[in-house]
């Protein structure tokens, strides 16, 4: 059991930042990305005796985190109400510079992509995954991934060539 815990700690330390980056690219918020990443690692911890034998346990965590990220967008509105209810005034949730990633040109451009395109673009350019693997992770045919990737890339190119303040308009 101790060895298992040590294994997990090592894996967690080594891969946490990568997972946060991928999720942040999808949700656009560092705070939210960290929250989602921690949830994904908590699930991994519960299943570590099984996951530790996987060739790529970080791929499992990334998939879980991305699924949560996509789902969390749908739940965000509800969460706003919950935050108020939980009296978060005790811990003022003031955004710090750099936390909201839309203020960087690439972050803003990413958030301007439709979710399906953003998902595959992030997995391809940030997680460095080939099309076939992205297709498996997204549960769509490889052709769909290629189409989304091409469209997303075109849109990114277009957005990044604009002035930052124009992005997102």
């Amino acid at each position: 059991m101790a060895r298992s815990a040590a294994d997990f700690g090592e894996f967690y330390l080594a891969s946490y930042g990568r997972t946060v980056a991928v999720v942040a690219a999808i949700v656009g918020s560092r705070h939210e990305a960290e929250d989602i990443a921690q949830e994904a690692y908590a699930r991994a911890l519960s299943r570590w005796p099984r996951l530790r034998d996987y060739d790529l346990p970080d791929a499992w965590v990334r998939r879980v985190a991305v699924r949560i990220a996509i789902d969390s967008g749908r739940r965000r509105q509800r969460w706003q109400a919950v935050r108020e209810r939980l009296a978060l005034a005790r811990h003022p949730d003031v955004l710090e510079p750099g936390d909201d990633l839309r203020y960087s040109p690439l972050g803003a451009a990413l958030l301007d992509l439709p979710l399906g395109q953003r998902h595959v673009v992030v997995l391809h350019y940030l997680a460095d995954l080939p099309v076939e693997v992205i297709a498996r992770e997204c549960g769509v045919p490889a052709g769909t991934v290629k189409t989304r990737l091409a469209a997303g890339r075109r849109r990114l190119e277009q957005l990044l060539s604009q002035q930052p303040e124009e992005i997102g308009k």
């Binding site: 699930r43 998939r63 990044l160």
Partner: protein, 426 residues
């Protein structure tokens, strides 16, 4: 229309620069993750145990031949103005066969019903599992609060629901399923119930409501134990036992540092609760609720190992993806994978000996989401009937015979909180 050409390498470089500070993010301590995992596990136990238990009751009622007269779509009667007296109702069980009549799966025209608390809707619902139809909502107590936890007694007839209002106070409500008239075609028309507030509440701490991880009601319906996490950054839960009739607090205990205790559905007696410590203390210990306990007593010191329950090395007693101790304390049930096949394993609780292994077939693809577990969802008191789930496949095991169950609503009812930001999916 097209902008300047952006080489793939250049785009990758931009991503690298953008992601560099994020990749350098320091992770929080593993203990923070453990806390999250425990919170989720608690909700899982409440959601699956109670929800599927309702299915068992309903199926049993159907077999018992309740008649039907369409009346209304109300599900459970709304809370009454005055506190109701708890009423354990063993006489309301189908006679002579309280569990065994509920065969899984029910015929297609006979509905499963459960509390669906995993929808995006604010209101918990009772669903017809055969059709997916929402039979009706469980009434909300106000517009500013939510139900946050649910426990059922061993008869699956009496439920205690925890409600948190806007000010963070947690109050408790009793619901008793009293009957289930159905139409000739199997359609549910009314589920009568009695609801009432219990004289029990837990105040918010520093404005933060109690984070309930699990609740348990004894078989006699006279005791309620609530396990909750008081507030950040404590990782140690608090257990508080109440007399359900008077609301009197029987005691409160602090979990030992570094351990994680889980309430088990097994009560050796009306005043004895079984607790498992899967984190390094693989045994079941018994908390006797008789006597007097100072507030904040040590849970470990006040519990004793249960000599009738052995220690298990092959199956961990956790409510999440782990083994299940039956409510009569006789059997430990566990779904395991051997090669590409999955199996149900039954252990004798007293000795830990493996009693039998029942093949469940090839292990289906298990998705990354928490609802895609491989485990036992619900078991009857002695474990002779149970429901398993692996991936999206659910199976009924009745006296060793395995049948695939197709539920109209799939596996939604074990869906749990997707993030801590969604604390009310349970």
């Amino acid at each position: 229309m097209t902008g300047p050409q952006l080489a793939d390498d250049e785009l990758r470089d931009q991503f690298e620069r953008w992601a560099a500070p994020l990749r350098a993010t320091a992770p929080p301590a593993v203990s923070v993750l453990r806390r999250r995992a425990r919170r989720r596990a608690g909700r899982f136990a409440a959601a699956t145990g109670s929800a599927v238990a309702v299915a068992g009751v309903v199926a049993a009622l159907l077999v018992a031949g309740h008649g039907a007269t369409p009346t209304s779509r109300s599900v459970l009667a709304g809370p009454t103005a005055a506190p109701s007296q708890p009423s354990a109702s063993p006489s309301e069980r189908p006679p002579s066969n309280p569990w065994g009549s509920a065969r899984y799966p029910a015929p297609p025209d006979q509905p499963y019903v459960l509390f669906n608390t995993a929808t995006m809707s604010a209101e918990p619902e009772v669903l017809d599992m055969a059709t997916g139809t929402v039979v009706g909502p469980i009434p909300q107590l106000s517009n500013t609060g939510r139900y946050v936890a649910l426990a059922a007694d061993a008869s699956d007839r009496r439920f205690v629901l925890a409600w948190q209002d806007a000010d963070g106070t947690t109050t408790f409500w009793s619901e008793t399923m009293q009957g289930l008239p159905v139409t000739g075609s199997g359609g549910i028309t009314t589920v009568a119930g009695v609801a009432g507030p219990l004289p029990i509440s837990i105040p918010a701490t520093n404005g933060v409501p109690a984070e309930i991880t699990s609740m348990a009601v004894n078989s006699a319906g006279t005791r309620l134990v609530v396990q909750w996490l008081p507030d950040e950054p404590s990782e140690n839960s608090v257990l508080v036992a109440f007399d359900l009739t008077t609301g009197a607090q029987l005691g409160s205990w602090q979990e030992a540092a570094g351990s994680a205790a889980y309430l088990e559905p097994y009560w050796p007696s009306a005043d004895a609760l079984a607790i498992a410590w899967p984190d390094g203390r693989p045994e079941v210990r018994i908390l006797e609720l008789t006597g007097s306990f100072p507030v904040g007593s040590s849970l470990l010191a006040d519990t004793q190992p249960d000599p009738s329950i052995g220690a298990f090395s092959g199956a961990t007693l956790t409510p999440y993806d782990g083994a299940v101790l039956t409510t009569d304390g006789s059997t430990v049930l566990h779904v395991t994978e051997i090669g590409a096949e999955s199996y149900l394993q039954e252990y004798a609780a007293a000795t830990g000996a493996l009693l039998r292994t029942i093949p469940l077939g090839p292990t289906p693809a298990v998705g990354p989401m928490p609802e895609h577990i491989c485990g036992v969802l619900w078991a009857s008191a002695d474990g002779s009937e149970l429901l398993t789930q692996c991936g999206t496949r659910q199976q009924a095991v009745v006296d060793g015979s395995v049948t695939v169950v197709t539920l109209a609503t799939g596996n939604f009812y074990v869906q749990m909180s997707a993030t801590a930001a969604d604390p009310f999916v349970w």
